[in-house]
């Protein structure tokens, strides 16, 4: 046989609750108990409020650059809902919804964007801090999951990244290590169509980003990333695959950022308003609210109540973040190493790097006082 087929595959897209309100009961029934669906909807409203206020804090000069999460709440929330406490969640910067669900105090995220490392000191749950260097965090997830496998403690890791991040070599290495060494990681790509101003076709011109995973012989799937049910479904499959078989899965969650890239960006420079309008209709909150209302689980009254609750909650969070004592210059030094070198102790004490300050005994002496070599 001169030409034979050595590999054959297809990639599926999972959608359960679509933007037109269609709900696939075969896949979706019983997937998320009603109470949980309500709780998650309420959570998204809180996250929206947080996002809005964070944006305003930046605009009014009370915070630095901030990346709006609006529109992309579902992938990280659906994942966090499925993950267990012992698992690691290794995120980028558009996963507030999942992180808050997991128990990360909301003020930590504000502190981070207020330019304060203490926002990254997280004791509450197994999450890594916001990853600014695009592509850097996935390898950490692979390592964290590897440790769980080594220890046989049943923990896995789930990592999030954007479409742009899949262009980085580190993505490739993280996925390749996981696949070849049988490491239980779930890779969730939030394909929001853009990497700052760069359309995702420049990041990945293949028909799907999901097929990135084929390179590693990994299970891969595309999911409607604005569909909470579908997201939960693929996460359940992926985490089972990780926990039972030590196998990674690659999930492409298609979604959209409804805001600018960050507060330093102006998306109107590069993005069609039509495109934005189309995606506004696919907003995950709309379909989820309709679903809940149809099931009589939600109402306008409840909506108002929750919006008020969210406003209060977020105000309190902002107050917490703003009331924290300013960091001190010592903080620059104190966690540089576990155990400071004598040189760093000197720099910390004197806040000096300059030569003469190095040896105080010499400051007194001056050449003019007649130094002889």
């Amino acid at each position: 046989m001169p030409v034979s087929t050595v590999f054959e595959t297809k990639i599926e897209r999972v959608s359960i609750l679509d933007e037109h309100g269609n709900f696939d009961s075969q896949l979706g029934e019983g997937l998320i108990p009603n109470d949980d669906a309500v709780a998650m909807y309420k959570h998204i409203l809180v996250c929206r409020r947080f996002d809005e206020i964070a944006f305003k804090l930046q605009r009014s000069g009370r915070m630095g650059t901030y990346p709006e999460n609006r529109g992309q709440e579902v992938p990280s929330l659906g994942a966090a809902y499925v993950l267990q406490k012992k698992d690691w969640m290794v995120t980028c910067y558009r996963e507030n919804a999942g992180l808050f669900w997991r128990g990360l105090p909301m003020e930590k995220i504000l502190l981070h964007w207020m330019g304060d490392e203490r926002g990254n000191h997280i004791d509450e749950c197994n999450v890594t801090p916001i990853a600014i260097a695009i592509g850097s965090q996935m390898l950490h997830a692979t390592g964290l999951a590897w440790a769980g496998k080594y220890r046989k403690d049943g923990s896995i890791a789930c990592t999030f990244f954007g479409d742009g991040a899949t262009s980085e070599g580190d993505f490739h290495e993280a996925a390749n290590f996981a696949a070849n060494l049988d490491i239980p990681v779930v890779f969730v790509c939030q394909n929001n169509g853009w990497a700052i101003s760069t359309p995702s076709k420049i990041e990945c011109s293949a028909p799907t980003i999901a097929q990135r995973g084929l390179a590693y012989g990994m299970d891969c799937v595309q999911v409607d990333g604005n569909d909470l049910f579908a997201m939960v479904k693929v996460m359940k499959d992926a985490t089972a695959n990780a926990r039972e078989n030590n196998r990674p899965t690659f999930i492409e969650a298609t979604t959209y950022r409804l805001g600018d890239h960050t507060t330093a960006d102006d998306a109107r420079r590069y993005r069609d308003t039509d495109e934005l309008a189309m995606w506004e209709k696919r907003d995950p909150t709309i379909r989820l609210r309709n679903y809940l209302e149809q099931k009589d689980l939600w109402s306008s009254a409840k909506e108002e109540e929750q919006l008020a609750f969210a406003a209060d909650l977020v105000s309190a969070v902002v107050a917490n973040a703003e009331e924290i004592d300013a960091p001190t210059t010592n903080d620059i030094f104190d966690s540089m190493y576990i155990g400071l070198s004598s040189e760093l102790q000197k720099q910390r004490q004197t806040l000096r790097t300059s030569s003469i300050g190095q040896d105080p005994s010499q400051i007194a002496q001056t050449a003019k006082e007649g130094v002889v070599k």
Partner: protein, 322 residues
């Protein structure tokens, strides 16, 4: 003549060189329609088209490595890395490939490219947006490194960098991208790579700095009221030791100011160079006012980290009193 900011002056230099030389092609993240996150390439996509102003995938090693290929093929690529903190993924291609091609092929293949990178702190940016890695690349033979501190120098140095047949890193001190304006000639001019600029002359002490810190130094000198000679390095590799040494031979004292951490920073090289060239002239140890040997902190504390007028002033006084 136009009254331009530093970043405008860079845009002007790019436009003028691109109009003259079809071999120039720009590649980087968000440099196209968006004009770059600092708008340094504003309007270039519209003017020169998508073939010459290329939005690259989000992959710094890819940007650097393909630029090497473009350069070896005889083009004059100008890759951009969005922030110096993201040079990490490009490190291998930059130091082990771009810097070495001419040497490892004994001149057979060359890498005439100019890597543009915004550098330094002080703009209230997130993590990894405020570093000063110039010493690392100065310790890498095969690269030239340039960092202007004024709009005028920016244009002249960028044109020199683009025309240089070697790989050049053109560091852009982002803190002063728009801090002040200066008259910048419309006509082309070059500033030779390797020549420092004496910003002001003085007899009592020599101060050496580069990039955004030059502004801090000038302020500190003014406040001190002393008679100080300020040297703006402009080129970081090769270092213009002649200019520095002549000055220190005259003044006998020197303070070096930079943003990068102290240990193994460029300050050490310059101080040692001064010891080598001016040992018998030195009246006081050379002082380094620079970043601490710590990670550049997030922005709440960044001004504690960066050398400022007060710290520079102290060093002036102590060095003069020595």
């Amino acid at each position: 003549m136009a009254n331009l900011t530093l970043v405008q002056s860079i845009t002007l230099a790019l436009i003028q060189e691109m109009e003259k030389d079809e071999r120039i092609i720009l590649l980087g993240e968000d440099i196209g329609l968006n004009g770059g996150v600092f708008r340094a390439t504003e309007g270039l996509f519209q003017r020169f088209g998508g073939e010459r102003v290329v939005d690259a995938p989000l992959a710094e090693s890819g940007i650097m490595g393909t630029a090497i290929g473009l350069a070896m093929a005889g083009l004059r690529p100008i890759p951009e890395i969005q922030f110096e903190g993201f040079m990490g993924p490009a490190f291998d291609q930059l130091t082990n490939q771009a810097a070495r091609f001419n040497s490892r092929t004994r001149g057979g293949l060359t890498c005439p490219l100019t890597l543009r990178v915004p550098v330094g702190g002080g703009i209230h940016a997130p993590e990894l947006h405020s570093d000063s890695p110039e010493a690392i690349y100065t310790h890498t033979p095969g690269l030239k490194i340039v960092m202007p501190s004024s709009p005028y120098d920016a244009k002249g140095l960028l044109i020199s960098a683009i025309r240089d047949p070697n790989p050049v890193i053109f560091f852009e001190p982002k803190r002063i991208y728009r801090a002040f304006r200066e008259e910048v000639p419309e006509d082309e001019y070059t500033i030779p790579i390797g020549e420092a600029r004496t910003v002001c002359e003085g007899e009592e002490l020599t101060m050496v700095s580069w990039g955004a810190s030059v502004v801090q130094c000038a302020n500190a000198i003014q406040e001190s009221g002393k008679n100080i000679e300020l040297i703006d390095l402009r080129t970081i590799n090769p270092i213009d030791m002649d200019t520095i040494a002549s000055s220190v031979q005259k003044t006998g004292r020197c303070v070096i100011v930079h943003e990068a951490p102290k240990t193994c920073g460029l300050g050490a090289e310059i101080a040692t160079g001064i010891m080598e060239h001016c040992f018998l002239n030195l009246e006081a140890p050379v002082q380094r006012v620079c970043g601490f040997d710590t990670i550049m902190p997030y922005y709440k504390l960044e001004l504690d980290y960066l050398p400022d007028v007060e710290r520079i002033g102290k060093a002036i006084n102590e060095t003069l009193a020595y």
